[in-house]
Every structure is written in structure tokens, then in C-alpha cells.
Amino acid sequence: MHRRSFVRLLAATPFLQVPSGLPPLRVVSKYAAAATPGMPGPYPGRVVAVTSDKSVDPSTGKADDETVREMMARGMRTLTGAATTRDAWRRFFDATDVVGIKVNCGGYPHCISAYEIVAETVRQLTGLGIPVSQIYVYERFQDQMTECNYAAHLPEGVQSVAAERANRNVDNSGYDPATYLEADLFGEEDTRSNMMKLVSQRLTKIVNIPNMKDHGATGVTGCLKNVAYGSFSNVARTHQNGKSHTYSVVGTLAAMEPLRSRTVLQIMDGLRGVWHGGPFARTTRYVFYPRQIMFGTDPVAIDRLLLDIIEKERRAHGAISIWDRSPASLKVNNTRARDADPNVNIIIREPGHVEFASTLGLGVYDKKKITVENVTV
């Protein structure tokens, strides 16, 4: 292609109209939404929660592979109503798809997207005839992927991909320069967050596998945060010095095309969880074991349930609420105090980001309108 053909006009995109007090956000994307976007997908407001006491041994933290497989099978069949597990997966994928599996490595070593769940996902995808070369396990940072080493648990040929070598803001080549969110949040010079090229240019479908984790800036990090902040550059800029703009940015990123249309399946890994200090889990001090996996296509509905799960666990430990906005709890930038004391926030959290995402059409927030089907294995 001649270089001149690259010179083309970008569509002018106005800044989004946002409620008073929220920062103006400008979405730039040439991608159109699918007829039925992956989020909220075919099952808005519907969540299948599969629990098994056998799934993880809390004394060792080790998961039982066979039990996890059974949980996955039951969850997918219940969600779709399909007679077989294969048919359940076939509702979302076919052999022509190029599938991204968005894992979460931020909680290494104690709470990352479970190898057993990721491996079973790959097994089901290859069972549909999708070549391993068309399956990408992805995160933003290669050093995190290297630590987690999913490749050791997956068939040879499955791609492990990251956009940047590490979180050093020097490596933008993995991001799409034409697909971004523009916002000036704190006076930063770099006002863009670009979507990963993998997402915009290669993948046709995405399976999102977040963990059940607390998060110091968003309250919880679930489906929305994992797929949004894990698919765009320069997102740490949204929360600093005690203030978080995640309230509107998380949902806005998740709603950007083509990410929204291509993220067709949510598998919330609650085998292990983190009730404080998230998204990190460098020690087991704040790790707990819900021993649950949730399935759905509606990220808002699952995250709405996650808010209660993390809140309940924090209460059980006498910790302040994720909704706490008290200045008395706030020790700005003092991560040491936060790590030592679950009654310390370093940023005023924005768990309301889940409800905000519902206003963008990403799913159902009202619990009365969310149907949860519980399955025990």
C-alpha cells in the first residue's frame, strides 16, 4: 500500500456529554458496534455462580483441576441452556475466531486468573476447532506475563501476548494510535489511552477472566476494570494523589469499540479473592477463598455481585467499607499504611464505576433485576 493512502481524515468526535463534576472524555474509534455487542451480550442481568468447596484447598491455596473443569462445564451449560459443554461454548465461538483471553496477572503470586480456568478455556476453544495459533492469552505487561507463565500450563502454540515489556511508559508500539480515549484528568501531558492493537486489529472475540479483588481506586476490580484497564495504555493516570477518575473512565473504556462488541464471555474467577490491598496480592494476608466461578455476558451484573462479595468480606474482618469516603480513612499515597491497615485508603475509591457503566448500556446494575442461578459442584 502506498504511504499516501495512510493519510486520511479522522472522524471528528466531540467530547462526551458527562454529568457535572466528571471530566470530559473523548472517544476516538473508527469501529462500529456489532449488531449484538458482546457486552452485555445475550444474557443481560443474568449470572451463573458455581461454587465448590473442593475447588481450592484454603490451607495450601491449591486448586483441584478436575473440580474446576466440572465447575466450568456446569457453569457454561447453565448459562446457555445447552445440552453439552461443547454446544455451550459454540454459542460464542467458532473455528474461524481469533480469541483473546484477558487474564489478570496483577495479583501475582496469590491471586491471578487461575491456570486451571485458563487452561480449560483453551481446551474448550481448541475443541471447537480453533487453532492454538488463534488463541491469545493477554495482559498489558510482559514482565507480569513472564512471572505468571501461563504457557507452562497451556498447549504449545497458544500465544502469550503483552502490549508493553513492563509498566515503564516507554513502549507504545503495541497500541493502536487511531483508537483511544482522550481526557485531561490531572493536567497530564499525555492525555490519551490507546487500545491494544491486538484487541482492535487481531482478535475477533475476547473471554474476560478477572479475579474477585478489592481495588484501592475503584473499590473492586472485576469484569469491567480487568477488560478496560487491561486493554488500554496509560490508565494509571486516572487515579493519583487521593483522587480517582475511575468512576467514569472504567466504563467508558469498556464501552469503546471494538472492545465492547468483541468481549463476549465473562468468567469471574472467584476461586481465590483479595479483600484488601488489591489489585495486588503479594502476601496471603488479605487473600480469601470464595471458591466460586461466575459466568455471564453482562459485566455490570457480575461486578454488582462482586461489590457485595468484597464488602461482605471486608466487614467480616472489621475493615472500612469500599464505599468509605471519609477523609479520616485517607492517607494519600501511603501504600505502606494501606498495606498494613485495612482501614486505610490511599485514594477515595469509586465503586460507583459499576453503576456508571450500566448507564453506558454495558449491563444491569439493579440487583432486583439481576438473576443469579447458583450451582454447587
Binding site: R3, R4, F6, V7, R8, L9, L10, A12, R168, N169, V170, D171, N172, S173, G174, Y175, P177, A178, D184, F186, G187, E188, E189, D190, T191, R192, S233, N234, A236, R237, Q240, N241
Partner: protein, 293 residues
């Protein structure tokens, strides 16, 4: 010390550690040494790079960039001297060149090869004696406060021209101590620069840089062509830097120190500006752009 004399447009090099330093220069192929007269009466330039500044509040997570472009812009006829520690000499040479500064570099002998490579690169660049492009003017009262405002404007790539009195050429003329720009506002130069940015608006800026907060650009040009100098103060190579330059330009190439000619990628012209990606930025790059007809 061994003063070295290079081409007039390039910084002059002096190396510490006597005979050992001289040998290092010789081994690096640097043969033209400054005269003693070049060393007298020079102002100190800061060591360029990024530093952690404990106790200095920053409204963003941006690293603190130490750069001299604002000094060179403020006093284009002044003579400067860098006294730089190991690892900083090539950046200092590029910085002085980018601003056309008259500068001597006192370098660690260990940097001789890096500096020689940088000087060779700079010598190989096509000449481009173009006027600086600016978005606003700063009326220089000679004060330290105004200097710090210039420093913070430069760090944010808010391109300014130094003037003696307000000029109708620019919609924004910053005169510290005036009714529009009182001293108490300028006492926090970072916040002040941010306010200027809001006043100017990002859309109207001649230069935007995305993908890094440690790259400072200098833009020169006329109606037919523009030269963009990019200085990377971060010490790490940057990939995929995105640049937005006001105006419409034809597809171009970058000349990147240590990497040679690199084609700009993903170029688009829209909304009165040209955007492109620079695949690699080492310490320094020059991008020459021809105006689209």
C-alpha cells in the same frame, strides 16, 4: 582537561581526567579540541535527564525533567557549559545542538564514544536554519520567577518566544507581575503553566507528544517546511511515540541518533494538524516535514 573544537553549530567538548581523558577522546575519533578561550565566562547548564525530587509536589505522576532548552531560548547569545556525569554527555550534546546553543561539554571519558557517535550524527544532519515556532510569548523581566515559568512551559511542550514587551503576534503574552499574570499566581510555576495550557487549549498547540512525559520537542519552521527536534530525557528508548504537529504535512522520515532513517508510521492529517508515530526514539531525533500543497 582537553577542550575540543568542533563545528560551530555543535557543542564544544572538554574531557576530564587529563591524559586518560585525552586518550579516550582519541580512541573515539574526537580530534578537534576547544581553545582555552572557549571555556571562559560561561554559564552553567543543568545536567539533562530525569530526577526524583523528594518533597517536590507534582500534580501528576510525571517525572521531573531537568532540561536546558528554556535557558537557551531565553538567552540565545549566552555561552554555556555542561559538566555532566557519566551517561549524560550524548544527551547534553544533542540538547545544545537542538537549540543552537553555544555550549562546552565537560564529559566523563567513558562517554567519549557516545559523544563521538552523537556528534557524527549531528554533523550528518542536513542544515535547516529555520525560525522557532511558538504558541505564546513570555515577556522576560530577567527574574528567576519568570525563568522558572519558562522552565515549566518548556517541560510541558508549551512553545514560547521570549520577548521584551508584549507583541500582537501572539494572543497570549505572559508578563509576570501584570494584571493578567500576577506574581502570586506564578509562585507555583507548575500550576501557572497548567493554567496557560488551559488558556491556549491543547487543540491550538503547535506540538503535542503522546506516549511519554519525558520527551521535549523544539519546533522550527517556515511556510514550506518544519523541523522537529525530539529530546528524550528518560534514559530509555521509547517505542511508538505519537506526535501531533499543527499544520498539514506530507509523509516524512525521522533521523534518529543511533538508529538512522526511520519512516514515520500511521500518519493522518485532520483538524488542522498532522499526526504520526515514531517507531523508535533513542536519545534524540530530528524530523523534517514538508508542508502539504
Amino acid at each position: 582537561m582537553i577542550p575540543l573544537l568542533l563545528l560551530a553549530a555543535l557543542p564544544c567538548i572538554e574531557v576530564m581526567q587529563g591524559a586518560e581523558g585525552r586518550a579516550a577522546l582519541a580512541a573515539a575519533g574526537i580530534t578537534r579540541i576547544c581553545a582555552e578561550s572557549d571555556l571562559a565566562g560561561r554559564e552553567a547548564a543543568a545536567t539533562p535527564g530525569i530526577t526524583a525530587r523528594a518533597g517536590v509536589a507534582s500534580p501528576t505522576r510525571s517525572p521531573w525533567v531537568d532540561a536546558n532548552g528554556w535557558r537557551f531560548t531565553r538567552r540565545p547569545d549566552a555561552r554555556f557549559v555542561y559538566d555532566v556525569p557519566r551517561g549524560k554527555a550524548a544527551l547534553a550534546a544533542a540538547e545544545a545542538f537542538a537549540y543552537g546553543a553555544d555550549a562546552v561539554l565537560k564529559i566523563d571519558p567513558a562517554d567519549a564514544r557516545d559523544v563521538a557517535a552523537m556528534l557524527t550524527f549531528l554533523e550528518g544532519l542536513p542544515a535547516a536554519d529555520l525560525p522557532a515556532i511558538a504558541d505564546l510569548a513570555v515577556v522576560d523581566d530577567g527574574s528567576a520567577m519568570t525563568g522558572e515559568v519558562m522552565n515549566l512551559l518548556a517541560r510541558r511542550n508549551l512553545l514560547f518566544q521570549v520577548v521584551r514587551s508584549p507583541t500582537p503576534q501572539f494572543a497570549i503574552n505572559i508578563a509576570i507581575g501584570s494584571a493578567a499574570y500576577p506574581r502570586q499566581e506564578a509562585a507555583d510555576p507548575s500550576a501557572f503553566a497548567q493554567n496557560i495550557r488551559r488558556q491556549l487549549t491543547d487543540e491550538r498547540r503547535a506540538l503535542r507528544i503522546y506516549g511519554s512525559e519525558v520527551v521535549i520537542g523544539r519546533l522550527t519552521g517556515d511556510a514550506t517546511r518544519t523541523r522537529l527536534h525530539l529530546l528524550n530525557y528518560g534514559g530509555r528508548e521509547i517505542e511508538g511515540l505519537r506526535i501531533r504537529v499543527r499544520g498539514a504535512y506530507r509523509p516524512g522520515q525521522a533521523q534518529v541518533a543511533g538508529a538512522g532513517r526511520i519512516t514515520l508510521e500511521d500518519q493522518v492529517v485532520a483538524e488542522g494538524a498532522t499526526e504520526f508515530s515514531l517507531p523508535r526514539l533513542t536519545t534524540y531525533a530530528v524530523i523534517d516535514l514538508e508542508a502539504a500543497r
